[in-house]
């Protein structure tokens, strides 16, 4: 299937969450980040060539995090784990979807999207996990032309990601965890100022606030 350059495609609308549901399709205005682990790369430098390589792109193995749905703690817990984290490179999804591949076939100029940005959540992944995958639009090409197109698409995708930045410049600090005591819950729900819980907040008020918060989530 050939995906239109720039627009969200049917592959990207498909639900790829291992449990169903999930956060839904990745919108063009969202930002995604590629976390740079290991030793290759430095803050301020571009992505190393093999961070986005044809085979890994073809297998959909290039992992991304949806910036607005992940916190620093999520990144530490689900991505970095015990590894060395150099930083991350982030880009607006529409820019990745605008990467096009163009070639001549039987005298006609053909154009296809370079890669799809899929909301791809497998078991053990955070819900904000996404992946970058080659678009099927040019997979039928002969070996040398296919390799050339893939090499150029990978280079353009790297360029779109720009430079590596500190992870805490891209991801926000973790949201406060749900408090367990009624006192702190009321402080958070009703006002930024500490309040006298005995006077303003009965246990039922707090339970109600907590339930409505959970419903909103």
């Amino acid at each position: 299937m050939v995906c239109a350059v720039g627009d969200i495609c049917t592959n990207e609308l498909e639900n790829r969450h291992h449990m169903g549901g999930g956060l839904g399709p990745i919108m063009p205005e969202e930002h995604v980040a590629l976390i740079v682990l290991g030793t290759d790369g430095a803050i301020g430098a571009g992505l190393e060539p093999n961070m986005i390589s044809p085979k890994r792109l073809g297998r959909g193995e290039i992992s991304l995090a949806r910036v607005s749905h992940a916190t620093l703690d999520d990144i530490r817990l689900f991505v970095v784990k015990e590894k060395t984290c150099i930083g991350a490179a982030a880009v607006e999804v529409s820019k990745l979807r605008s990467v096009a591949a163009s070639w001549k076939e039987s005298g006609r100029q053909m154009v296809s999207r370079g890669a799809c940005v899929l909301p791809d959540v497998n078991e053990g992944d955070h819900d904000s996990h996404a992946s970058l995958k080659t678009c099927a639009g040019y997979e039928h090409l002969g070996q040398t032309l296919l390799g050339t197109v893939k090499t150029a698409v990978c280079a353009e995708l790297r360029k779109k990601f720009g430079t590596i930045r500190r992870v805490d410049e891209i991801f926000t600090a973790p949201a406060p965890s749900i408090p367990t005591t009624s006192e702190t819950w009321c402080v958070q729900e009703q006002s930024a100022q500490p309040i006298d819980t005995a006077r303003h907040c009965s246990i039922f008020d707090c339970l109600f606030a907590k339930l409505s918060w959970l419903r909103r989530r």
Binding site: P49, N50, S53, A101, T148, T151
Partner: protein, 178 residues
């Protein structure tokens, strides 16, 4: 493993010189020298002898070979046998082309996980990517604010006019720095 199968540094320029005279190579020894077939020295570059227009300096040749050997070593575990054969031809073509360029601007050299070799010059949004698939040709891909590498690709033979074209594009990207 060496990509070029040339064990003695002093033989390197002679191998290139040998390519100019055809299918044999003059190998210097302590007691003199003799022409040997390529089988004894190493396989020739995919690019033919006519494609070499100047004698590359040993330093540039060594540095370029070494960049590509490092790049290949980084992806070696991901290459199957076919990819490796592609990589060997592709890197030979890339070295052969790079050593013919006049530009003094250092690019990035890399080999990817399908065995394609590439040389990239980039400043900000503008850049030139040379892609080698091991078929004795080079694909020039340009990028700018308005178009991507994969949108403007041109295939060229490894000949003198291509080297001039590439030098011109690099000068255009780097402006006065080049």
């Amino acid at each position: 493993m060496s990509l070029f199968n040339v064990n003695q540094p002093s033989q390197l320029s002679l191998v290139i010189a040998g390519a100019l005279v055809g299918a044999s190579v003059y190998v210097a020894t302590v007691s003199g020298g003799a022409f040997q077939s390529y089988e004894h020295v190493g396989s020739p570059p995919t690019a033919s002898a006519a494609m070499l227009v100047k004698q590359p300096s040993e330093l540039v040749l060594f540095a370029t070979q070494s960049h590509f050997e490092d790049a290949l070593a980084r992806v070696r575990s991901e290459l199957d046998n076919n990819d490796l054969i592609t990589a060997q031809s592709a890197t030979r073509d890339a070295v052969s082309l790079y050593t013919q360029l006049s530009s003094a601007v250092s690019p990035n050299f890399f080999v990817n996980d399908i065995g394609f070799a590439a040389i990239e010059w980039r400043i900000g949004q503008r850049g030139l990517l040379l892609i080698f698939g091991g078929d004795g040709k080079v694909t020039l891909a340009k990028t700018s604010e308005n178009s991507g590498y994969a949108e403007s690709m041109e295939e060229h033979e490894l000949v003198a006019s291509t080297y001039k074209l590439i030098d011109g594009i690099i000068r255009n990207i780097h402006g006065a720095d080049c």
